[in-house]
């Protein structure tokens, strides 16, 4: 289980309605059912992963979140979760807007491209960084819209999204991101976790 799942779960209130966008094998969904007794649905693009979710008894829709989020009515979920997939969308801006339309709140996690190891990799090796959270080569990576924690904070401000909670993850330990420590968190953390509202 990804370490961020516990933190995501802590952001979610009991017995709420949750949509997990890009739910993969449904591990977060199962965890949320166990921890928070939520009514959770998933969307997953991979056929085998979607079928795997069905075998676990999870309610899942095979589909492409880029276009299939349209079918959900406004405010139909308490939370919409997007765990480390924003960077893979063609149009992340549109996707975030969709998340905030469907969900009263959205939880978005991003691999932080501003993490010092990534910066160092590019600085010293001069090639596109390959890390544990970003294991693909430049030519086969699904991650076409990578950003830093700082980028995401600026993006949210520009779009007037309210960041109800911003967390940075370092060595699997979360800490709060504030305006005055933004530069440090952007350098020291490998993952950003944001609870967003419109």
């Amino acid at each position: 289980m990804k370490p961020e799942f516990k933190i995501i779960s802590d952001l979610i209130s009991k017995e709420s309605r949750v949509l997990d966008v890009g739910c993969g094998d449904g591990i977060l969904m199962e965890f949320l059912i166990k921890e928070k007794n939520v009514d959770v649905r998933g969307i997953e693009i991979s056929k085998s992963k979607a079928q795997n979710c069905i075998s676990k008894g999870l309610t899942i829709i095979e589909g492409n979140a880029e276009k299939d989020l349209e079918q959900f009515p406004d405010n139909s979920f308490d939370y919409v979760v997007l765990s480390q997939t924003l960077q893979a969308f063609l149009d992340p801006e549109k996707v975030i807007n969709e998340l905030l339309r469907i969900g009263k709140q959205a939880i978005v996690t991003i691999p932080n491209f501003g993490y010092w190891k990534i910066r160092l990799h590019l600085l010293l090796k001069g090639t596109m960084p390959v890390t544990r959270t970003l294991p693909d080569e430049w030519y086969n990576t699904p991650n076409i819209h990578l950003c830093t924690i700082k980028d995401f904070v600026f993006f949210s401000k520009k779009n007037k999204f309210k960041l109800s909670k911003s967390l940075a993850l370092r060595h699997n330990r979360p800490s709060l991101i504030k305006d005055k420590n933004l530069d440090i968190k952007n350098l020291s953390s490998n993952l950003g976790i944001f609870l967003i509202e419109r």
């Binding site: 309605r17 056929k47 079928q51 069905i54 999870l58 589909g63």
Partner: protein
């Protein structure tokens, strides 16, 4: 005909008002069951058959002596596990495997109905079959399952009887017959009507059958059940028991011979007038129209858990039409899952040994059953 007379039949004395305006009563509904109903009566699955199916889902069909139409999916330890579930399947009204249909005698005129049989709809089929639940004293089914026209019945069932099933599995179907669907059905009907043995539907009285027309109808329909890729891989341009083209109109190609065979075996087991009536019922199916153009409203009253399955190569009821049902359900926050199964076998995939499909169906049912 002897085998037909021995079929299990429920005589429905409750009058049924059909969509066409006529009311029928004291009519037979032929059905079959598999597995056993448990004490709580909460393990029953009602399976709806497709256009040319019947109540003999699995095992051996005593009339045709062939395997049941869904033997890949239904049976002990199979996707629909008859060790666990009590499976019920009825022949649709309008059909020709014992249920009230155009080959029955009209008690008023003492003549075979033929085309005097009332036009029936998917709604009528489902309303006839609800009597089976009352007969078995089942308050709530565990599931309703069906592919193609069977899937349409699943959708209609849940909208008519929102509290009478816990889960619903419409497979490779649509909520509304498209112009293309209607076009292919019309082609089949016209092929039957063009057969001079059809006699405006009165062929039975002359002891003949419009077998040529019905065979052509089946051939045309059969093509729509397969994918281009599937056909190409299976037949390509392979020749039928010959080394070269014969420059004539015999079946030179294997695909021609295959289709002719499919047509010829079909006429032995299916009634031409039933084919007209059932295709008509499919064409009339438009669930959204029943709810003022809003498909979501068809499902507003149900708490059933839906699982919708489509197939990549199905161009008769393509994924998008299945997804439209998913969208309508999501629009009202219903509990709906959906997968599209990869298969080259076209619309027929749901009847065939497609392991991903059978495994996923089994997983859904068995997991949902443990939640009861």
């Amino acid at each position: 005909m002897n085998a037909i007379e021995k079929l299990k039949t429920l005589l429905i004395d409750k009058p049924l008002k059909l969509d066409c305006g006529q009311t029928i009563s004291d009519f037979p509904l032929a059905y079959e069951t598999y597995g056993s109903l448990n004490e709580n009566k909460d393990n029953a699955i009602l399976i709806f058959h497709a256009l040319t199916g019947d109540q003999f889902v699995t095992g051996s069909n005593p009339v045709t002596n062939k395997d049941g139409w869904w033997s890949f999916a239904v049976g002990p330890n199979k996707a629909i596990d008859t060790n666990k579930y009590f499976v019920i399947c009825a022949n649709v009204i309008g059909g020709c495997m014992g249920s009230f249909g155009p080959s029955h005698e009209n008690p008023k005129t003492k003549k075979i109905y033929g085309t005097d049989f009332p036009v029936i709809t998917i709604n009528d089929m489902v309303n006839a079959q609800i009597n089976l639940l009352d007969f078995f004293k089942i308050k709530k089914l565990f599931s309703v399952v069906g592919g193609s026209m069977g899937g349409m019945q699943v959708l209609q069932f849940v909208s008519n009887y929102p509290d009478r099933t816990k889960t619903a599995v419409p497979i490779a179907c649509t909520s509304s017959h498209s112009a293309q669907n209607i076009a292919f059905n019309e082609l089949g009907r016209q092929a039957i009507a063009a057969d001079h043995n059809w006699l405006d539907g009165k062929y039975t009285s002359k002891n003949i059958v419009p077998d040529k027309g019905l065979a052509v109808a089946r051939m045309a329909a059969h093509i729509t059940y397969l994918s281009k890729k599937g056909l190409q891989e299976k037949f390509g341009r392979k020749l039928q028991e010959r080394d070269d083209l014969k420059f004539g109109f015999d079946a030179d190609f294997q695909i021609e011979s295959y289709l002719r065979y499919q047509g010829s075996v079909f006429v032995d087991r299916f009634d031409a007038n039933s084919y007209l009536y059932i295709t008509r019922a499919m064409d009339y199916f438009d669930l959204a129209k029943q709810y003022n153009g809003n498909l979501s409203n068809a499902f507003k009253k149900t708490k059933a858990k839906f699982f919708i399955i489509s197939f990549t190569s199905d161009w008769l009821y393509p994924t998008q039409e299945n997804k439209d049902i998913v969208i309508a359900l999501n629009a009202i926050g219903a509990n709906v899952g959906f997968v599209e199964i990869e298969s080259d076998k076209g619309h027929d995939s749901f009847l065939l040994d497609v392991p991903d499909f059978l495994k996923t169906l089994k997983n859904f049912l068995d997991k949902s059953y443990t939640e009861i």
